[in-house]
């Protein structure tokens, strides 16, 4: 008897009937998961959207509860001693609050239709206090919640009572959860659950990933040596997706991300389909595209907008309308990467760069949730480089090549938060907790020294100077157990739990420009919100692009930024674009390969091929493994352009370090600008002549040793590093989060983490928080790890091309000068004139 035959046998009659009534047949993977559960095994289910993943995850639970029968009676919590035959059976963890709510709604149907004695409830930040209390006392059979809520539940004295009866944990969208610090937090909470309820098994639900074994490890406690893995069930793949690049009739832009050129073509695609999801990469692009679509929406199609800055209620409204089949299109960001399955989407349009193949495939999977029909998707590159990236993504999809990131090494700041949480719950012994924490896959390699350092940090700050014993947050009792010193500590922990640290936002208000000596007039319209760190970089009078216009920064009044309309044609200040995913290393390599192989150009649109041919003629096309560096003079400045294709963040760090070196070499660099593909540096000194005379060496300039002293020096003052440190300090609980409305009073009570960073860096450079900040900088805002890999890759493989003017390949990055914006690139028209001049010059 095969596994499937066996498992069909174990599907109770009641369930078999229900499937039949619905006209469904249980899917193979659903039955396989049931068999795993019956055998007491944890399992990872890899399945595309629309494969009935959720039902598969819950089927074992529903079957078990159906067989168990209705709960007998209620019990009050009195601590660990109470043993119960029934209680919380299954815990479901989702990355999104909304998803938990939706899944609960979706599960209610089978529960009701089969008349199962199942009580299922959600617990999110929105759950009223009375209900939360009742849930602790009298838990439902199935509780649907988020990692943060789970952490809070675990950090209480009655956690052993609440979770003692637990049988199963279902982790939804696991591929998405494990890539962030939330995944670290979840892994630690899971380790706690394994300790509290050794009988539990886990079910992970995931999209296809590059390394499923990483996820399998995440799902089970890790032994002290070697590794343990959950079983794996792979759902049959559906029909191959039908993906194409938009063959635009319009002129392909050289830079920018608006995709304005393809607006009518996108609209026609929407008109030709029942329901279309239009994915873009940033909120501003979503806003922009949404407005532009409505401008040409002659047919009055119901087109909606969905992104993370919109109010929750508004997002829910869009989701509900979508579920009800009332919408023709939704313009959305990654806010819809995850979430409920909508059966009726028949087209996905991805506007802009795909960034990564797995990510794109997951988005495409949002179309047509009937597995036997192919998902249909159209890629719309918004500029020429993105054409190459789209082409690379199409090849990757054809090869079904995944590029999800590898499993994280657990962060130390998250560990510190967890340790405090543990002390808020049951007092712990260090030996026990260390063993427990190492059962979590991301922390399997955690050293005892690091663990002890984290405990020390939580207790008294972890300082070499033992000054704070009397202010300790946790203390070891005579029984050897660590417990909190004051209930206030637990209160604060609860307010600061979680790993998501939002940037402080300021409202942007439009006012009339101030005349000299006068007060800035108040009032005016609010244009939106902008990150505080961005404004801190500005000085009054600076111009920047926001909400589709060039604005002049006037002043900050309380928590609002006052701006006025500017007559400038070039915004002065670029900005770091947060929240954008960098181009994956895998796709980057493919893009380089396409570029290097002129035969591959045949697949590209004529305009792009022509562009590359002129580049080949005017400058050169770098071989796939080489780094091309071009130098040329322009408008009394000297430019150096390189094309590492390593993503904006790594390029920005490279730009910072390179300008330091050029400064030392007397080249008087004036600035730099980076995009996903290239970096441009310009200065007063003639770098070209110095290179040609051998007075300046590119090998030295791009030497890996820039990640030594130069990096150190820069980190000492880097605003990005200080921002990273601030996040670490908040997650680890050194300082507290700021809450809206409290700013004014709290600002007086808070201390700038920049000052703390400076002092700590000087007096205890190996402090836990600095190590955490370094680990984050390696992969986060500074992407140092990727830069290091690039520098090592191109060693001895630098090709220099001295030019007498701008090269075609350099035009896109040069167009970024002064146009990088906080929220997007809506100023295209204004900049077109400037762009045209450059292009004419390059293509002559």
């Amino acid at each position: 008897m095969t596994l499937v035959e066996h498992s069909r046998d174990i599907l109770p009659e009641q369930f078999a009937r229900w499937f039949a009534q619905r006209g469904w047949r249980p899917r193979v993977h659903q039955l396989e998961l049931l068999a795993k559960a019956e055998a007491g095994k944890s399992a990872l289910l890899i399945a595309p959207t629309g494969a009935g993943k959720t039902l598969a995850g819950f089927l074992p639970t529903l079957v078990e509860i159906a067989q168990r029968g209705a709960p007998s009676r209620k019990l009050q919590s009195t601590g660990r001693a109470v043993t119960r035959s029934q209680g919380l059976h299954t815990l479901y963890i989702s990355p999104l609050k909304a998803l938990a709510v939706d899944i609960a709604r979706n599960l209610e149907a089978p529960v009701r239709e089969m008349g199962l004695p199942v009580r299922l409830e959600t617990r999110t930040g929105d759950t009223p206090a009375s209900k939360r209390q009742r849930q602790r006392r009298d838990p439902p059979d199935i509780l649907l919640t988020t990692p943060e809520q789970l952490a809070l539940l675990l950090a209480s004295a009655d956690a052993p009572f609440l979770f003692g009866t637990l049988r199963r944990v279902v982790l939804d969208e696991l591929h998405s959860l494990v890539t962030s610090k939330r995944g670290d937090l979840l892994s630690l909470d899971l380790a706690r659950l394994f300790a509290l309820a050794p009988q539990i098994t886990t079910v992970g639900l995931s999209a296809t990933v590059a390394e499923p074994d990483d996820l399998r490890c995440f799902l089970v406690p890790q032994p002290l040596s070697g590794i343990a893995m959950a079983d794996m069930v792979v759902a049959e793949g559906g029909a191959r997706p039908d993906v194409a690049m938009l063959d635009t009739q319009a002129l392909l832009p050289w830079a920018g991300h608006s995709a304005r050129h393809a607006l009518h073509e996108i609209y026609d695609l929407v008109r030709g389909h029942k329901t279309t999801l239009i994915f873009v990469n940033t909120r501003s692009q979503a806003e922009f595209l949404f407005q532009e679509m409505w401008r040409i929406n002659d047919d009055n199609l119901s087109i909606a907008l969905h992104h993370g800055s919109l109010a929750v209620a508004q997002r829910r409204k869009v989701e509900d309308a979508m579920a009800a089949g009332k919408l023709r299109a939704v313009v959305c960001t990654s806010s819809l990467d995850l979430g409920v399955d909508w059966g009726d989407v028949d087209l996905v349009i991805n506007v802009g760069a795909p960034k990564g193949s797995s990510r794109l495939m997951q988005r495409i999977g949002r179309a047509n949730h009937r597995l036997d029909e192919p998902s249909r998707a159209v890629l719309v590159p918004s500029n020429r480089f993105e054409v190459l990236e789209c082409e690379a993504a199409l090849e990757a999809i054809a090869d079904n090549a995944q590029d999800t990131p590898p499993l994280r090494t657990g962060a130390l700041d998250v560990l510190a938060q967890h340790i405090l949480g543990r002390a808020c719950g049951e007092p712990f012994l260090c030996d026990e907790l260390y063993a427990e924490v190492r059962a979590a896959a991301p922390y399997a390699d955690l050293t005892r020294a690091d663990f002890d350092a984290a405990v020390d940090f939580v207790a008294t700050g972890g300082y070499a100077l033992k000054a704070y014993e009397r202010f300790a947050k946790i203390k070891q009792g005579k029984d050897g157990r660590w417990r909190i010193t004051h209930p206030r500590v637990a209160q604060r922990y609860r307010l600061n739990v979680g790993t998501i640290v939002e940037a402080d936002m300021l409202k942007v208000r439009l006012v009339r420009s101030k005349r000299t000596g006068q007060q800035v007039p108040r009032g005016g319209r609010v244009l939106g919100e902008v990150e505080e760190y961005f404004i801190e970089m500005l000085t009054p009078g600076d111009t920047f692009v926001f909400a589709g216009q060039i604005l002049k920064y006037e002043t900050i009044v309380e928590n609002e930024v006052y701006v006025s309309r500017s007559t400038a044609t070039d915004p002065k200040v670029p900005a770091y674009e947060g929240g954008k995913f960098p181009l994956s290393t895998y796709l980057a390599a493919r893009v380089r390969a396409i570029l290097a192989d002129s035969k591959a150009w045949r697949a590209l649109p004529d305009q792009v091929r022509e562009w590359l041919e002129i580049q080949e003629w005017r400058s050169l096309i770098p071989p796939a493994g080489d780094l091309l560096i071009e130098t040329f003079p322009r408008a009394a400045k000297h430019y150096l352009i390189c094309y590492p294709f390593e993503g904006r963040l790594a390029h920005q760090t490279l730009g910072m370090l390179l300008t330091r070196r050029l400064e030392r070499a007397g080249m008087k660099p004036l600035g730099f600008v980076a995009n996903e593909y290239a970096l441009a540096v310009w200065g007063v000194g003639d770098m070209q002549v110095r290179l040609q005379k051998g007075l300046l060496s590119l090998g030295d300039l791009f030497n890996e040793d820039m990640l030594g002293d130069d990096l150190e020096e820069w980190l000492a003052e880097s605003a990005l590093m200080k921002r990273t440190f601030r996040t670490n300090a908040i997650i680890a609980g050194l300082i507290e989060r700021r809450y809206p409305g409290e700013e004014k009073t709290r600002r007086q009570l808070t201390i700038s983490t920049d000052l703390v960073y400076d002092v700590l860096r000087k007096h205890q450079p190996d402090h836990l928080l600095l190590r955490a900040a370094r680990a984050d900088a390696a992969t986060g805002l500074l992407d140092i790890k990727r830069l290091g890999e690039m520098l090592s890759r191109i060693k001895g493989r630098i090709v220099h091309k001295a030019l007498d003017h701008v090269s075609p390949l350099s035009v896109p990055v040069l167009l970024e000068i002064g146009r990088e914006t906080v929220y997007g690139e809506a100023s295209d028209e204004l900049l077109r004139e400037a762009a045209d001049d450059l292009i004419k010059e390059a293509m002559q």
Partner: protein, 232 residues
């Protein structure tokens, strides 16, 4: 100061006819009186936060004392005046660590030491040596904590910081805010925050924007007219 180039640490600032040296470590030295003045030391700010559960690195007092020690080595003053808010709170003197207390005593040895009281430390403390006073008049100068805009006044309290921009990049530094008749000194403590000199509080002291921000640079001061400094 004719010897300013040879001795890069300081710069002459004339207040009410008295020639003072503005040191780029954030102190004022009065050669004629061999007097060193510092403002807003905010000792034990770290432990002040710590007792409220925010365990900031406890190195602030030692770091501030080390900087003060360098200045005392440099000028060997006959007297040191701390212009108030020397401790972040009233409990600060009791929380002072042993090593820091020893260091403070060593710095006080052989010279007069005057603690001007501030709003953070209004009461004289017992165990920190030195003499206490609400203000101190010497010659044409008056040293006090909160500036009142008086002629010859050397005060602290406001923590002046100036911000200038050049080639699109902004630099923010602590500074002496001074005109010909009065001065507001920069905060000296490493954890002390700052207030932009374009804030209305400075206009109240100086009456106009006709004052200079002497920004603390690396090895020297940089003077900018306040009206050329950037508001936040």
């Amino acid at each position: 100061m004719t010897d300013a180039a040879a001795a890069p640490y300081f710069e002459g600032i004339l207040i009410a006819g008295t020639s003072l040296i503005g040191d780029c470590d954030g102190a004022v030295y009065w050669p004629q009186e061999r007097l060193l003045a510092v403002a807003d030391l905010h000792f034990e700010k770290g432990s002040s936060f710590a007792q409220r559960g925010v365990l900031l690195p406890p190195y602030d007092t030692a770091a501030t004392l080390a900087r003060l020690g360098r200045l005392i080595m440099r000028y060997a003053p006959r007297a040191v005046i701390a212009l108030g808010d020397s401790f972040h709170d009233g409990g600060g003197p009791d929380r002072l660590g042993d090593a820091d207390r020893t260091q403070l005593r060593a710095l006080q040895a052989g010279r007069d030491w005057i603690w001007i009281t501030g709003n953070h430390d209004p009461e004289p403390a017992k165990n920190i040596g030195g003499d206490f006073g609400g203000a101190l008049v010497i010659g044409s100068l008056i040293f006090r904590h909160i500036p009142q805009g008086e002629n010859g006044e050397i005060a602290g309290h406001l923590h002046p910081v100036a911000r200038v921009s050049h080639r699109g990049r902004a630099v923010s530094r602590r500074c002496f805010a001074a005109d010909a008749t009065r001065m507001v000194m920069p905060a000296f403590g490493v954890y002390a925050g700052g207030l932009n000199v374009r804030d209305a509080a400075f206009a109240d002291v100086f009456g106009t924007l006709d004052f200079t921000a002497h920004m603390l640079g690396d090895g020297r001061l940089y003077a900018f007219a306040a009206r050329h400094c950037r508001p936040d």
